[in-house]
């Protein structure tokens, strides 16, 4: 479904992704973790070309993301993305947030788009808030609307870029619940997160990145959490720190 081959990226002379190769199959849930500045967010943003790459190849469902000739808007419309800071469109109501891209990008009729959007809003448990504006919702609710917005486009994969990092602890659960539900339905997901509980519960694989944008580990969940002594020293250090509390 997604394949990254030897992807490298520089900001000026600073290398932020170093020869990263990842393969995600249909229905897989892959968690990406690692310390700040390790390039996790950059990695996930290269997949729908929000961040350009200088070297390597990225393929989504047979389409070459790295190819200049690729119709990026069309490609991105098939890839759902959820951001750390939600990024709902604040000047549009919840309903309009859900339908605008369906109408303008996918060319759906308004009633059709609204039906699909409200289905997804129902799914994240916020159907009562359809007439509100994003600024009138809590962070957790905004993030659930953002997930519904991405799902309304019927994506083939969902990318999550630290979806719970900006939330109050109490609201993390409601967002993770939605994500667990998606995973259990077989949605292909790539999730950058520090929520190790989520990784343990639903992920198939865990990728660990370290500073400099290098992928240190790419293993199954059971292996990653099961035998800590088999991990690389840097991974052990990271896991020991974050699992301590």
């Amino acid at each position: 479904m997604i394949e990254m081959k030897s992807v490298s990226k520089w900001y000026g002379t600073t290398q932020v992704l170093n020869d990263c190769s990842v393969k995600i199959n249909k229905g897989e849930v892959v968690v990406v973790c690692g310390p700040s500045g390790s390039g996790k967010s950059t990695l996930i943003k290269t997949i729908n070309a929000l961040e350009p790459i200088q070297k390597g190849e990225i393929w989504i469902d047979g389409v070459a993301v790295h190819d200049k000739a690729t119709d990026l808007p069309k490609l991105r419309s098939r890839v759902g993305m959820v951001f750390q800071h939600f990024e709902l469109f604040p000047h549009l109501s919840v309903t309009d947030n859900l339908i605008i891209a369906q109408i303008k990008v996918l060319g759906r009729r308004r009633d059709e788009a609204k039906k699909r959007g409200l289905q997804m809003l129902e799914r994240v448990g916020l159907i009562d808030h359809q007439h509100k504006f994003p600024g009138q919702l809590s962070g957790g609710q905004q993030q659930r609307v953002a997930i519904a917005r991405a799902l309304s486009m019927d994506p083939i994969i969902m990318l999550f870029d630290e979806p719970t990092s900006a939330l109050d602890p109490e609201m993390v659960g409601e967002v993770l619940d939605v994500m667990v539900g998606l995973a259990s339905e077989g949605m292909t997901m790539m999730v950058v997160t520090h929520e190790m509980g989520f990784a343990r519960k639903v992920s198939n694989r865990v990728i660990f990145m370290d500073v400099g944008g290098r992928i240190l580990e790419d293993t199954t969940k059971d292996e990653f959490f099961g035998k800590i002594e088999d991990r690389q020293p840097r991974t052990r250090e990271f896991l020991n720190k974050i699992l301590q509390y």
């Binding site: 991105r76 098939r78 951001f83 469109f89 605008i100 303008k104 996918l106 509100k132 504006f133």
Partner: protein, 244 residues
Amino acid sequence: MAYWQNVWDRWQFLWDDRGDGVTYFQWMLSAWGYTVAVAATSLVIALVFGIVIGTLRTLSGHRVISAFAAGWVELFRNIPILVQLFIWFFVISELVPGMRSVPGFVLACCALGFFTSARIAEQIRAGIQALPTGQRNAAYAVGFTQFQTYRYVILPQTFRIIIPPLTSEAMNIVKNSSVAFAVSIPELISFAMQTQEETSRGVEVYLAATVLYAVTALVVNRVMAFMERRMRIPGLTVQTQGAH
């Protein structure tokens, strides 16, 4: 009592015939109409060009386009408005073929409109750059093209941000329209100067012009404040009352 009678009498010249069947009062209203027409037309020109140029300045990766937009802004804001007006009238209309037949009213509106467009362009640019980059990313992520991103996500938010400075700009254009007297547009200052000469009622004439400018600016201010309230996004910002 005699004092107030005197004050009253001093304003009676307004009903005098100017000599061509038009009273000074009618002339004043017509001059006010010119002021409003020059200001309104210039504002439309300023908004259209300001929005386009301000947007072009924010396009990354288009060297030539953003250099052109930057050049536009510098050209029209680095030259005094009066000089620009004279250049339209005495240079451009002489040198550019076909411009000689363009009415003075249009030339004055071009001068004022382009001058103000440079200022509005800068406000638009500042407004666009004030938005978090996440909004742009989110728009691209749902599949919007660059044009759609600006049309549906960036610009609607930018307009709300820049309504207060845009209010000032709209009021400025009313006041700046007074320079049009210098090229014989029969607007308020033109009326005031000529009437002063013909009737020697300088105090009354300039007081009247002052009040009409103030009223016009106030109306513009109220209209903009109304728009600001109408466009308010529920739950988004703590709004201050009215415009500034």
